[in-house]
């Protein structure tokens, strides 16, 4: 009777008995040809007559279907509607009136494209779209059950998702890092943090049945992967062969084998590692290199600018010729450290030299010491500019510099890892121990100065190292009395004859250099919850009879993908860098991100479409199987999927492709004829109007009142909750914290996600439940929402803040205050009628309800935050 599923095929409501070849629970010609199981191919784009609907392939696909069905697509939305729609879709925040007006006035042909580019470049993009992904992976920061204990550091995973989206990390890499960022050839701190993906589920610290709970957790991990990444529901195959898809119970357990080694969440410090950037972190080294290269580039710019300034100064004051410090540097370099354009040359050895090695008369060149340029160290040791590789325990080095006279002052520079002794002309002048992570510049002390001699001066150094990286560098510079720095020359010349723009540029460059030096990436200690496995060989896995782990069936011998996808056994090996894992997740991830995987690109493009158009091309985004909905435009989806792959999995580029289509720019207005034929807008003849999501709503309120704190990232914040809400917890205060006021106005994506306590302002508006993957949120409209919007402390406090903003921006001008309220909240100018109406409201509140003018405006602010126009996006 498995085959008596006529409706699944979308054919008829009447039972039809199908042949074995049509049995959709088996791998056969029928199932292999099903839209989401069949291989992904680039479809050809239909030709359509309407030129406006033929520029984007998306439009051609849609228009073709609309025309066949006798539907006429809507015309374009107004520019205001469009930019408001795009702002919410991409950043989750409303546009400002200025942004709307600028777009309305921009008559350039690429005006729309510029808006898209600006929005996609905004860091708020990551905050908005991360939330969509967090719904799918049921992101939460506590474990649930009796203690609902915290998952320490897990917020880094949330930040990882935000950052990855903002950096447009290719989607294949994004999946790879989450599934197996620890098993990559070169894990980075980010790829390690990404594996927090496996740590988000509910977890009971005292389950009645430990074995069952273990497999509940593995099942949970497996489901967010199969449903989230592959659009495949496999839950029922845990107990028996799938009754609606060609997935057998054996398929299920062979797939679970990929996850079998994963350790379960645990109390407190379990699965927590230091993933901070250091010499083992390719990401950190790359960022260091990038930073230094940028620094060099700015310095060169400064040199060029100063050269020009010097030339202009010399024109006015010829006597300066030859007396200007060319580099703008006030020092004469005697022995350059590694940072100088010409670093000093040293003799060095790593083998213990004879006892007189530090004496003046010790000639290193005669002792077969090697020649090397400053500084010394192992690549990647923080701070030092390495020109000569040194990676052994000890280093002896000698260098010389010449002096014509004994200076009164000298400037020294030093960096070392670890202990260092420096001799000058045979005398011990400096001794430092430990690690110096950055160059130290300092004036020579008396001891150093008194050891100087005219002519040849010999510097001898010995450095010893016990663990970690190595570094040593030392420099000597003299202050230049006889030369003028640019600063001094400029001051003397009172900048006469120098181009003002050039001076401003120099000032700006110097500021940038200083700031840049401040922001040099530092090796840090970063604690994160990461995935860990039980070892290179995971514990054995058995098929569970009826899903019961206590009733073992056959041993699962292979890690393989489901038969319908080819059933390949995936080879794997433990990562070479010695991490104690099986490599199984990496093997799976590599299969999932293969460009020809029939699901991965289809699934993510469907999600992109869903969040732009309000409904996926397949309306069940986690289920592309027989139990899911059929796609309305499967060929278009295939086109989008292949386009994503050809764009190297760049989501930002695909957003742009979608938003540039005519379809995205359509108005949401009704048309009687179309409403009669396609009331549900199945064929996308209009844009779908939508209510704001919970986060968009709260963030919009804060943006409107001007109190939104746009700070990004970091540990989650606790917003104020009513005592009644905290009283629902079994512990006093519900272990809910209290963040400082300025933190409480941050974007909703940063609010603490605690399984047992959910802030009502978000829950009332259909926040996703965190116990399972949520592909599509509900969009309910309920009286409790009206109560929250009229009476909650949050909305009322914000309404007062909003009114205060109006009073300060338009003091003593009620009509302007009313107009401003509508302008800010709705991002459009108020009509005369609305102004009259608003003023009438304020007056009625004062006259009939005896409110002060202040309170009357407070009420108007509250009213505006409750408008449908504020809540819905056309």
């Amino acid at each position: 009777m498995k085959t008596a599923l006529p409706i699944l095929l979308g054919l008829s409501l009447f039972p039809t008995f199908l042949t074995a070849e049509d049995d959709i629970t088996k791998v056969n010609a029928t199932t292999k040809a099903f839209w989401s199981y069949k291989p992904l191919r680039r479809p050809s784009v239909p030709e359509v007559k309407d030129p406006a609907w033929s520029r984007s392939p998306i439009d051609a696909f849609l228009f073709d279907r609309l025309e066949t069905n006798g539907l006429k697509p809507n015309g374009p939305a107004s520019r205001r509607e469009l930019i408001r729609r795009a702002s919410f879709d991409i950043t989750g925040l409303p546009p400002t009136l200025e942004e709307v007006e600028a777009f309305e006035k921009d008559s350039s042909p690429d005006a729309w494209e510029k808006v898209i580019d600006r929005l996609l470049a905004s860091p708020h993009y990551g905050e908005k779209w991360a939330r969509h992904w967090l719904d799918i992976v049921r992101y939460a920061e506590s474990n649930g059950f009796e203690r609902d204990s915290d998952k320490p550091h897990i917020w880094r995973y949330r930040d990882y998702v935000i950052d990855a989206l903002n950096a447009d990390l290719p989607y294949d890499q994004f999946l790879l890092e989450q599934l197996a960022g620890d098993e990559l050839e070169k894990p980075t701190s980010q790829s390690m943090i990404a594996t927090g993906y496996h740590r988000l589920m509910q977890w009971d610290d005292e389950p009645a049945d430990r074995l069952l709970h273990l497999f509940d957790n593995l099942d949970d991990d497996l489901r967010i992967t199969t449903e989230g990444m592959l659009g495949m529901t496999v839950g029922c195959a845990r107990c028996h062969d799938h009754k609606g898809d060609p997935i057998s119970q054996e398929d299920y357990y062979s797939f679970m084998a990929f996850f079998r080694g994963v350790k379960q969440p645990g109390k407190g410090g379990a699965n927590i590692e230091n993933v901070g950037g250091g010499e083992g972190d390719a990401g950190y080294l790359a960022s260091l290199e990038k930073h230094d290269a940028e620094g060099e580039r700015v310095k060169e710019e400064l040199e060029i600018a100063e050269k020009k300034i010097g030339q202009q100064l010399i024109k006015t004051f010829p006597s300066l010729k030859g007396r200007l410090s060319s580099s703008g540097d006030e020092f004469l370099v005697l022995l350059g450290d590694g940072r100088e354009p010409s670093p000093g040359k040293w003799f060095y050895t790593t083998r213990k030299p004879s006892a007189n090695w530090s004496a003046v008369n010790f000639r290193a060149e005669n002792e077969k010491w090697k020649r090397g340029v400053a500084g010394f160290g192992k690549a990647g040791t923080p701070g030092v500019k390495v020109n000569t590789e040194w990676s052994s325990k000890e280093l002896w080095a000698q260098a010389t510099f010449l002096l014509e006279s004994i200076p009164e002052k000298l400037r020294l520079s030093l960096i070392h890892d670890e202990d260092v002794e420096i001799f000058l002309n045979g005398q011990l002048v400096l001794r430092e121990s430990g690690v110096l992570g950055n160059y130290k510049d300092f004036d020579a002390d008396k001891k150093f100065l008194s050891a100087l001699q005219t002519g040849r001066n010999v510097v001898a150094a010995r450095v010893t190292q016990t663990k970690g990286g190595q570094s040593f560098d030392f420099g000597v510079k003299s202050y230049q009395g006889e030369k003028f720095t640019i600063d001094v020359a400029l001051a003397m010349a009172k900048s006469k004859g120098v181009d003002g723009g050039l001076l401003a540029k120099r000032k700006d460059l110097k500021k940038r250099i200083a700031q840049h030096a401040q922001s040099r990436p530092k090796p840090t200690s970063v604690s994160a919850q990461v995935v860990q496995e039980h070892g290179k060989t995971p514990p054995p896995l058995y098929v569970h009879y009826r899903g019961n782990p206590h009733v073992k069936g056959e041993k699962v011998m292979t890690t393989r993908i489901p038969t319908i996808f080819g059933g390949d056994e995936l080879e794997h090996e433990s990562p070479a860098h010695g991490r104690n894992t099986s490599g199984r997740r990496l093997a799976l991830a590599k299969w999932i991100i293969k460009p020809d995987n029939p699901r991965t690109s289809r699934v993510i493009m469907n999600r992109l479409w869903q969040h732009h158009f309000g409904r996926g091309i397949c309306a069940t985004p986690n289920d592309f199987g027989y139990l899911g909905e059929r796609p309305t435009h499967p060929i278009l989806l295939d086109w989008l999927a292949t386009e994503l792959v050809s764009k190297k999995w760049s989501l930002k580029q695909m957003h742009k492709v979608i938003m540039l289509s005519q379809a995205y720019q359509m108005s949401s207005k009704g048309q009687a004829a179309n409403l009669a034929k396609d009331p549900d807008n199945k064929l996308f003849w209009r844009f779908n109007m939508r209510r704001l999501t919970a986060e968009e709503l709260r963030d919009s309120v804060l943006a409107t009142t001007g109190r939104l704190n746009r700070k990004m990232g970091g540990p989650s914040v606790f917003i104020k909750l009513a005592p009644e809400v905290l009283a629902t917890s079994s512990t006093k205060g519900g272990k809910w914290g209290n963040s400082p006021p300025e933190e409480q106005t941050r974007r909703s994506v940063y609010i603490k996600v605690k399984r047992s306590i959910v802030p009502p302002i978000l829950q009332d508006f259909d926040l996703a439940d965190t116990d399972g993957t949520c592909p599509v949120r509900f969009r309910s409209i309920l009286p409790t929402q009206a109560l929250a919007m009229m009476n909650s402390a949050f909305v009322n406090e914000e309404a007062v803040s909003f009114a205060e903003r109006l009073r300060s921006e338009a003091p003593d001008d009620p009509r302007r205050q009313v107009g401003l309220a509508l302008e800010i909240a709705l991002a459009r100018a108020a009509t005369v009628r609305e102004l009259d109406y608003g003023i009438e409201f304020v007056e009625v509140m004062m006259r009939e309800h005896k409110l002060s003018s202040e309170d009357a405006l407070n009420r108007f602010a509250l009213l505006v935050l409750n408008l449908n126009e504020f809540f819905f996006v056309d």
Partner: protein, 485 residues
């Protein structure tokens, strides 16, 4: 009236849901529900229009219209309350072989704690009830006792989820959500599912106990307070007078109408306009429902309202009756909150603990039954009494009378709509350590509640994550026919 209709987590809006109906049928087909043509043929697109809580026809003859679940949080001891174990008294202090599993893990031996209260027989049925419940004992003939209950976990966190949502992991909708999903609510001015908590705090896992899980939040329980502001955000901010609020709403509506003018086909916009009117009405109906001042003294006396220790629970029971009168489908009242002795979780001193909690609730519960009966409401109101598990016959520690958790066997009782009075069903062994014979699972209790409410427990399903989820699980469960009238 409409039939309950399956919907998706994948639901986008109501219009979308209509489109999803095909998918709904799909899943129903899988559990063989196509066989029940009569049931599903009536489902139509219109059935998902409007409020998800709109009233729906029951699937089966309805024996009860509302449920009052008296949740004895922490786990009351069955052998000290309703499950008479005469042989346990003389064993007091003796160490015996008995398999137990509780907070302290699995044990094979233990020191018996003899029952600390005397039992005597009550009513026509001659039911043995301990002296902990002198008032309730007078209602013995209205009650059906189930002595062979078992649950999947002897640990509070997962056991609470098990008792409320049918599963030891979280994410599933609670019993009250299923009832509201299946039947809708007949009073749109009040929530269909109300939860009342103890002042000492909520139960372990808090809101997870009345969650709607993967169903829309409109099916979740609403926390109601018996005094003050019954529902969060119900009271106007700034003490705004009602006339002023009316003016505000009128101006808001006018401006919303203008916006709606160009978008007449967007039903969400007009729904939102009417949701403000509903909320406005709720603001009077809900406080009116909790206003017990008008209740006559003799009724208050019945519930123990105004009598110190029973006042709080008495108010909640009286409020429950008033909510039932107003059509609220499911009401859950917690006896006990927070942790340890603030609820029935008697690990240390059994006597002090149970004297306290039984003493606080005995008269109110007896009063509730009596009051419902005298108003002719008892036969359409289903009362459920019990905790997430029972307690062990042996002591948890070397000293003292405290008992550890016991999910192998414990007692719950039901009374009212569609339930036989004066019966006892099932039993535990002579120590009370485990159910014997055909033990009953939490699922059977859930099945009984759904059945009595007119919902077929084995066919009431909700399609989610590729599965037809049911409260009673894929295994299904029979209602407890032995106690059903």
């Amino acid at each position: 009236m409409n039939k309950p209709v399956n919907s998706f987590c994948g639901q986008i809006n109501r219009r979308e849901a209509i489109r999803h109906l095909g998918g709904g049928f799909t899943s129903l087909a899988l559990t063989g529900m196509l066989a029940q043509d009569g049931f599903f043929n009536k489902a139509n697109a219109a059935s998902l229009q409007g409020n998800p809580l709109a009233p729906k026809d029951s699937m089966l003859p309805q024996r009860a219209k509302s449920v009052i679940f008296l949740f004895m949080y922490g786990g009351p001891s069955h052998m000290d309350t309703f499950d008479y174990k005469p042989k346990l008294y003389p064993l007091d202090g003796k160490t015996i072989d008995v398999k137990t599993f509780g907070r302290g893990g699995k044990k094979n031996k233990g020191r018996v704690v003899g029952p600390k209260w005397k039992f005597s027989q009550h009513g026509q049925s001659g039911k043995h009830i301990s002296t902990l419940f002198p008032h309730l004992a007078k209602r013995a003939d209205d009650i059906a006792f189930i002595h062979s209950m078992s649950a999947e976990s002897p640990i509070h966190g997962s056991a609470m989820l098990n008792m409320n949502c049918g599963s030891v992991v979280s994410g599933k909708p609670s019993l009250g959500s299923w009832v509201n999903y299946g039947l809708g609510s007949v009073n749109e001015n009040l929530p269909g599912y109300v939860v009342m908590l103890e002042n000492s705090g909520g139960p372990i896992s808090g809101a997870k106990n009345w969650t709607s899980g993967y169903m829309p939040a409109s099916y979740a329980g609403t926390v109601f307070r018996s005094q003050g502001d019954p529902i969060l955000n119900l009271k106007n901010a700034h003490n705004m007078p009602r006339e002023q609020q009316r003016t505000l709403l009128d101006y808001l509506n006018t401006m919303n109408q203008e916006h709606l003018g160009l978008r007449g086909d967007q039903s969400d916009l007009s729904s939102r306009v009417s949701s403000y009117e509903l909320a406005y009405r709720m603001q009077t109906t809900a406080p009116e429902a909790i206003d017990l001042d008008g209740e006559p003294d003799h009724v208050k006396e019945l519930y123990g309202v105004g009598e110190g220790r029973t006042d709080d629970f008495g108010r909640k029971c009286m409020l429950a009756r008033r909510l039932v009168e107003r059509g609220v489908r499911f009401i859950q009242i917690y006896s006990g909150g927070a942790h340890n002795d603030a609820n029935w979780d008697a690990h240390g001193n059994l006597e002090a603990n149970h004297n306290k909690h039984a003493g606080n609730t005995d008269k109110p519960i007896a009063g509730l039954i009596a009051d419902l009966k005298q108003r002719g409401m008892l036969d359409e109101t289903l009362i459920v009494w019990g905790g997430e598990f029972g307690r062990q016959p042996t002591a948890e520690y070397a000293k003292g009378t405290g008992r550890d958790h016991n999910s192998f066997g414990f007692t719950m009782w039901m009374a009212g709509g569609g339930i036989k009075g004066g019966v006892s069903h099932g039993e535990t062994d002579e120590l009370g350590s485990a159910a014997v014979g055909d033990s009953l699972h939490v699922r059977n209790m859930h099945a009984t509640v759904l059945d009595r409410m007119g919902l077929d427990p084995n066919n009431l399903s909700y399609f989610h994550g590729g599965l037809d989820e049911k409260l009673v699980g894929v295994e299904g469960a029979k209602p407890i026919h032995e106690i059903m009238a």
